[in-house]
Symmetry: C3
Subunit: 164 residues, 3 copies
């Protein structure tokens, strides 16, 4: 079972993903953020405290597929957008291939996956060329993963709207 | 009855709020914008003309709760996002407390409230640190108010989509 | 029959419009982009290859109404946002009148129209005054066209959500 949870910033995506994981076990949380500054470290720590001790946390900014292929139970990936931005910043020419590799892992994993992503193209076209390209990669990734997903949920003000 | 109406810029939120208020009386419109420049004054004046004479208008950029607690009938608050930005610009450290205070007033008010808010986190992360923090406050406020609300409506191209 | 397809960047709007056009004939695609740089030319060429030979393509950055009034069969307009931005950049004072003219053509056309537009106001208010005004024009256009449309479809991660 693949669930994709999307939405804007601070729309309750992570909380919904954790709730969705519910009673399933074991529970793994894959954090894809590279903790580059204090603001990000504080956010990560706050999230970890909110999850509680029943969750194993893996910090993995790049090779998410490897974990999807070996894990069992329920796995929350939080989030695909940060994972993709890590790849784009490190090796932009690999972005397309990494998205394909992720999709391949999602198709064969034996775990239940709850993947969090972001809506980030509902605005005026950014001035910055890299930001424009990232919007494109991100939108294409969301479409590819949504196609594989059993359910897609859009978060609006903390409320889940099932769109697939 | 608490209704939260959200959506992007120029998506018909205010018009829908006024329509929603419908036949109920008395009608009060709380305008939270601080009219700092000519662009904003023109917008406020246009809105006032559209509402017509059956609406009492209160301009209140900060202490919205006070009015929610004393008013009866139907009250449109337009909008929570501007109200929150007023607080963040004046005293950012109070933002969380002000959101709680607003929620407390919403829980006990005897008026029917139609509150307008904005979706503003569906884009690339802003460069500006204050903009990022405001996105966070705003998203958290929307989640808090949506939890209290009886109905939440998302406006898309002037069309209302009920999400709660 | 007028269909309006909206959504964020890279949400699958164009693909959905082409699929929607389906078995109807003849098929015309009105491309409204002014191909000002290499990035845009490549995107246009990619889209043209994806459509295939059964589609006639018209490149028309300004006078879309003229074509709506004479064409038969199914016509995809891709997209209204670019068309509006062309007008705003060339003659901003005409934006409102052009939107009205477009709506008049949509009301009387004998073709089936599938119009693509964009959601671009779901973010922090832009610093740039022209960007703010364009957001406003764009939102008003979307509301006007949605009111005329028989159906309005919001794309989320490549999935169509019918909102009207």
């Amino acid at each position: 079972m693949i669930i994709l949870i999307t939405g804007g910033a601070r729309s309750g995506k992570t909380r919904h993903a954790l709730t969705y994981a519910g009673a399933k076990n074991p529970k793994t949380y894959i954090a894809t953020a590279e903790l580059l500054d204090e603001e990000m470290r504080q956010r990560a720590e706050r999230h970890r405290l909110e999850r509680g001790v029943r969750w194993e946390t893996i910090e993995e900014a790049y090779d998410v597929s490897k974990h999807l292929l070996r894990l069992r139970g329920v796995v929350v990936v939080d989030c695909l957008t940060l994972w993709l931005s890590n790849w784009v910043l490190r090796a932009e020419e690999q972005a397309g291939r990494q998205i394909e590799s992720l999709c391949s892992a999602l198709r064969v994993t034996e775990a239940d996956i709850v993947a969090v992503t972001n809506e980030l193209g509902w605005s005026i076209v950014p001035d910055n060329a890299l930001a424009r390209r990232f919007r494109d990669y991100s939108g294409l990734m969301n479409q590819r993963v949504a196609k594989i997903a059993d359910h897609v949920v859009l978060m609006v003000c903390g409320i889940s709207v099932q769109v697939k």
